[in-house]
């Protein structure tokens, strides 16, 4: 999966879970500050991302995923 494909997948999840406009989802955006995703919605995003991308994202890792790009890097590494 390319980084762009992962971004597109995350954008779908963010729209469904937190009502984020998919056009706003780009790698440099911060989940909490730019996209207004609260801490519990972030958990929902992570759970949905595990299913969609077939990866495991443990509790301890969630706090390190500050930006969309952080999540893309983690997912693409975990898929490899």
């Amino acid at each position: 999966m390319t980084r762009d494909e992962i971004v597109a997948g995350l954008a779908e999840i963010l729209e469904e879970v937190a009502g984020v406009n998919p056009d706003d989802v780009t790698e440099e955006k911060s989940f909490t500050e730019d996209l207004d995703v609260d801490s519990l919605s972030m958990v929902e995003v992570v759970v949905a991302a595990e299913e969609k991308f077939g990866v495991k994202i443990p509790d301890d890792e969630v706090q390190n995923l500050k930006t969309v790009g952080d999540a893309v890097s983690y997912i693409s590494k975990a898929q490899a």
Binding site: S39, L40, V43, V47
Partner: protein
């Protein structure tokens, strides 16, 4: 070798002959008690940096009740008195009192003995159990087991909590969550040939996550790892709750009400969505009462019964979860 023989007659504590194993138990009646003082989100905004919208968006709570002078035992007794009044039984008929609580300040006597004294129950077996927020389902299961084993016939089961005693009123992440309350059920043995009204319990725990919800140490405050608990609750519990339904012999479509621990509206909605019970009313007492720990399920069920939202005899799924982490649930017939 001599024949050890068998006792000619088993008798219960009142001397009545126990002739056979009891097939099960059912809930006869419910009762609840909440303190008068209402604490709104606007009140909390005067105390810590928060606001009404923030609280509603994150946890779905609008108000909670806070006890002033009432103790856990006072609230437990008030709820039990109402349940007993609706049961058609007298105080003397009760032979077991079980209280689920994690917030009683006194180490002894336990809350169950205090409730028995306040209600004038003669000589019941009386004990407290602590599995935090899942307590009511655990207590209900032990009552059902005691009745099936012939150790009790009529039981008062109570969930009662005064978490305001353990709340850090300067911590905005926790002080918005909790409220004080008690809920009670009178449980009795089913008549011969009658179907049991309390299904088999599905219970367990996640010991490696024992730090996720804590009331630790000397003069402690309640603390929790919110994200970790939210994730566990919204992903791991629905399959366990479905197991509880399966064990009871019902199908998801038979369940008429879902009463899960009232922790957070988003958790309740998350569990309800995954469970997908097409005909079930979902209890959302969290909105007006906050998280009242072990009291939340009997409180919510008692209100559903009082408002006539669930027909008598209809199957209701109870599912508790909380500190430990512990969980327990069962299907009961609505009183």
């Amino acid at each position: 070798m001599t024949d050890p023989g068998t006792p000619s007659e088993r008798v219960d504590q009142k001397g009545t002959a126990v002739t056979q194993t009891v097939a099960g138990s059912r809930i006869l009646s419910m009762g609840h008690y909440q303190p008068a003082r209402v604490l709104t989100n606007d009140d909390l905004a005067q105390m810590v940096d928060t606001n009404d919208q923030w609280i509603r968006d994150r946890v779905g709570i609008a108000t909670r009740r806070i006890a002033d002078n009432e103790t856990v035992a006072d609230m437990a007794a008030a709820a039990a008195e109402k349940a007993l009044a609706g049961s058609g039984l007298n105080a003397d008929d009760i032979d077991l009192v079980v209280v689920a609580t994690c917030s009683s300040v006194d180490r002894s006597p336990n809350v169950a003995c205090r409730v028995a004294a306040k209600l004038g129950i003669g000589a019941p077996a009386a004990y407290d159990i602590n599995t935090a927020c899942s307590g009511f389902s655990y207590a209900l299961a032990t009552a059902d087991h005691a009745i099936r084993a012939g150790s009790a016939r009529n039981v008062i089961v109570i969930g009662a909590e005064k978490l305001s005693d353990f709340t850090d009123w300067t911590d905005r992440s926790t002080c918005i969550l909790f409220g004080d309350a008690a809920g009670a059920a009178v449980v009795t043995a089913v008549a011969e040939g009658e179907e049991p009204g309390i299904g088999p319990v599905l219970w367990g725990s996640v010991p490696e996550r024992s730090d996720a919800v804590r009331i630790e140490g000397w003069r402690p405050y309640i603390q929790q790892e919110g994200q970790q608990v939210f994730r566990w609750a919204t992903t791991a519990l629905a399959p366990l709750a479905l197991d509880a339904v399966k064990r009871s012999g019902y199908e998801p479509g038979d369940i008429k009400a879902l009463v899960c621990h009232q922790a957070n509206l988003r958790i309740i909605e998350g569990i309800a969505k995954r469970l997908n019970l097409p005909d079930a009313v979902v209890a959302k007492d969290i909105v007006e009462s906050g998280n009242t720990s072990a009291a939340s399920m009997p409180l919510a069920l008692s209100k559903l019964v009082e408002r006539g939202e669930v027909p008598s005899g209809a199957p209701v799924l109870l599912f508790g979860f909380g500190g430990g982490l512990t969980y327990a649930g069962q299907v009961v017939r609505c009183p």
